[in-house]
């Protein structure tokens, strides 16, 4: 079955896909981004609603830095994108290349940290070999329990992606504009809709 992705993108911004269509669609989508797809996802038996147009543009823009930091992502999209990335990770047989691994890891960062209510937004930037993840916290008082939870996630990501060099920071943003803490070239990978 051949799927013309461009036709799909042009028709509408939203699609309802059943479990039979989904792997094929994403197979094509991942090929476009030079990432292979594993059939493990076929085991899923549920319907998904995906905004594929958004998905594709998001994917391209995030990692081509086309629009610099002017990307807004809703949480549900990230959860769905990340679930795909995780399924991919679980099914993979061989180590994927650095760029693909980085993308996958950043999806997991967005997914895992995005579940925390006190997080305002998440950015990343790169310095030499480091992936610097900046997690803006919407807090005005130190919260040790929150730090425990954040560092549990950080530890798990560092273990899962031990080949990548991460540096995590947790600026106290409250409602601050990102310019106060974030380099203008830093890329937003998750943002809470206020």
């Amino acid at each position: 079955m051949q799927i013309n992705m461009m036709t799909l993108f042009d028709e509408s911004e939203s699609f309802f896909l059943n479990s039979n269509q989904l792997p094929l669609i994403f197979s094509e989508l991942f090929k476009m981004n030079n990432i292979s797809w594993q059939n493990r996802y076929l085991n899923q038996d549920k319907e998904y609603s995906h905004n594929l147009y958004f998905f594709n543009n998001l994917w391209q823009d995030l990692f081509n830095n086309k629009y610099e930091a002017k990307i807004f992502i809703d949480q549900q999209s990230i959860i769905e994108l990340t679930s795909i990335a995780i399924c991919y990770q679980e099914g993979k047989q061989e180590r994927i290349d650095y760029e693909s691994l980085k993308k996958e890891a950043l999806f997991c960062v967005a997914y895992d940290f995005g579940k925390m209510k006190k997080i305002k937004s998440i950015y990343y930037q790169e310095y030499e070999n480091e992936i610097q993840v900046i997690i803006l916290l919407n807090v005005e008082k130190y919260d040790d329990a929150l730090m425990d939870s954040l560092l549990d996630i950080e530890y798990s990501i560092r273990k899962r992606y031990a080949d990548l060099i991460f540096q995590f920071s947790y600026p106290l943003a409250s409602f601050a504009s990102k310019a106060d803490f974030i380099h203008p070239k830093a890329i937003c990978i998750w943002k809470r809709i206020m």
């Binding site: 005005e140 130190y142 560092l151 549990d152 530890y155 409602f175």
Partner: protein, 151 residues
Amino acid sequence: MAKNLVHLSQANHNEQAAKSFLQDTPYHDWAITAAFYASIHFFEWFLTFKKYQHSETSIPTNSDGKFFYTVHAWREKLIKELINDQYAFKAFRKLRIASEHVRYLSLLQPSLSFQPLDKPAFEFYDLEDASALINNNLAIIKKALQVPISV
């Protein structure tokens, strides 16, 4: 003095400084920073017994001679992998994050105009926070590194 004892001595000195700052409010923010530097020296003491010897002199380089890690990134990798204790790793990270907050933080007021708060940034951590951060996390780190109690 042997290299490992110098680190242990400096670590203990920094820990005492941290406790001293806790008695001297409102300078408890510096207690957090002193405790972070105590934790670094405790780890460097521990590292002298390992093949890496010191975090700043063992950073791997690329084929062109450039450092593959920054010092902080390399040290945290060593902490994660050599100690292999999630609680100890979190204790290090908590002290580093808190010390960066109190040194660099510019907390902003939650308003549409993003006005700075009318209080200094270090008030984000009160004395109780600072005391708990220091005592709990240094204890976890020292236990994980097996720092001699008598020293």
